[in-house]
């Protein structure tokens, strides 16, 4: 299923702690506008917070691109976190829970993958990292056949 994406709706810089809180606010707003429920809003904002912080702390800063999606049935949100930092040499290791090259808990990357519905990492050592995630409207659960 190919998602039909509208043009990028926003591009936010990630260069400071203040930028991180702007990112969280904008993502929260976008998720609310798309009609995401509270649980999903919280997941998306939390994942964005993790990835934006990685962009800042490990990638040395960069930006987030936010795109709203619509596949004809559901609406979604795509977030790309782009930096031109050192890149990730061993992606599997980086995704391992508890692995950190700094003083973190080492849960951000793996956690963001579990919180979102799509997760891709595009990274080249010495060139930078782009992490792209997507969240889709959970939709009203369709009534099961046979249920009274």
């Amino acid at each position: 299923m190919e998602a039909v994406s509208r043009p990028v709706t926003a591009e936010l810089p990630i260069g400071s702690d203040a930028d991180l809180s702007r990112v969280r606010q904008r993502v929260r707003q976008a998720a609310t506008d798309l009609g995401f429920g509270l649980a999903q809003q919280t997941k998306v904002v939390t994942a964005a917070s993790e990835l934006a912080r990685n962009t800042l702390v490990h990638g040395g800063g960069g930006l987030m691109e936010m795109t709203s999606l619509d596949d004809g049935h559901r609406r979604g949100l795509r977030l790309s976190f782009v930096d031109h930092g050192p890149g990730i040499r061993d992606v599997e290791l980086a995704l391992t829970d508890g692995y950190t090259s700094g003083g973190g808990l080492g849960l951000g990357l793996g956690g963001a993958r579990r919180l979102m519905q799509h997760f891709t990492i595009d990274t080249t050592p010495g060139q930078g990292t782009t992490v792209t995630v997507e969240a889709w409207e959970q939709g009203v659960p369709t009534a099961r056949r046979g249920t009274p």
């Binding site: 919280t42 997941k43 973190g104 849960l107 956690g111």
Partner: protein, 298 residues
């Protein structure tokens, strides 16, 4: 740009540079009375004159450096520092960056006037070139000051934020030996540092055995926030107090689980009231649970 233009420009740069060096005193005397300096150096005019001379010298250096339109030119470094103080002081006095920019713009006419007076033919080509170059470098100066003023404004905001943090982190004594902090907003590193310090202080001052961290007002718990919470809990433990985290809302409980954060060793309660009841019970003070109180005891 043709070779001819380059040559003219170089000559103009040399001319203006020489002019700034020669007329340093006069320029500084005129600038000292401009609002930018007059409002800042209120105690002594001599100080203002000295500051102005510093700016004149820096401008001369910028021209010698050959990049009059570049706000990153290294020769602006000294002005940046000089005018940084001036701009910061103006900002503290309530001036907006736009007003400060206007103040800097007001420095141009007096120096332009002095420059024109140097020429036998003040409306000739050579004078025109020199005045143009002076305008360019003064325009760049204005941008440099704007930039400095803006970052001074940011510093001011940062200071106010810091103060707000402190008042927004009240540690409440709920009972003898039981303190609580209701956290509101995102727990960033700066804030969690303040929270930890005030909580530990309160634990000591009140000889508290229980500390409740209520996160009802925290919109999101990511791995950094969790780490801050865990550190606070560990520090309280070292002080001999048990920490209880209350107010974890369902949406946040879910994300904590997805992130894989282990709060296993931390006592959690869904509300502040439940956390208080827990702490009281541990101290041997029994209070009826809210739901049980509606049932008349037999």
């Amino acid at each position: 740009m043709t070779e001819q233009d380059t040559a003219t420009r170089e000559t103009a740069a040399q001319l203006v540079e020489a002019f700034l060096k020669q007329r340093r005193e006069q320029i500084a005397q005129r600038w000292a009375d401009a609002p930018l300096f007059r409002t800042v150096f209120t105690v002594s005019r001599d100080e203002a004159v000295e500051a102005c001379k510093g700016v004149v010298d820096a401008l001369a250096e910028v021209l010698a450096g050959g990049r009059p339109e570049d706000i990153t030119a290294p020769e602006f470094a000294t002005v940046r520092e000089q005018l940084g103080h001036v701009a910061a002081s103006r900002a503290r006095g309530g001036a907006t960056p736009a007003q400060i920019a206007d103040d800097v713009a007001a420095l141009r006419p007096p120096v332009t006037e002095l420059l024109r007076a140097e020429f036998a033919d003040p409306s000739g080509v050579q004078a025109g070139e020199a005045v143009l170059l002076l305008s360019v470098v003064m325009g760049t100066l204005r941008l440099v000051v704007m930039e400095t003023a803006l970052s001074a404004g940011e510093e001011l905001m940062e200071r106010q934020r810091q103060q707000l943090l402190e008042v927004a982190t009240p540690v409440i004594q709920l009972w003898d030996g039981i303190v609580a902090v209701p956290l509101i907003g995102t727990l960033d590193s700066a804030r969690s540092q303040v929270v930890m310090e005030s909580l530990l202080e309160a634990i000591v001052d009140q000889r508290a055995a229980y500390a409740i961290l209520d996160i009802t007002g925290v919109p999101m718990v990511d791995s950094l926030v969790a780490q801050h919470l865990l550190k606070t809990v560990a520090a309280a433990r070292l002080m001999g107090a048990e920490c209880i985290v209350s107010g974890i809302r369902p949406a946040i409980a879910q994300t904590i689980v997805h992130l894989g954060i282990d709060l296993g060793t931390v006592v959690t309660r869904s509300s502040l009231a439940d956390a208080l009841a827990y702490a009281l019970a541990r101290q041997g003070i029994a209070i009826p649970a809210p739901s049980a109180s509606r049932v008349s005891p037999s």
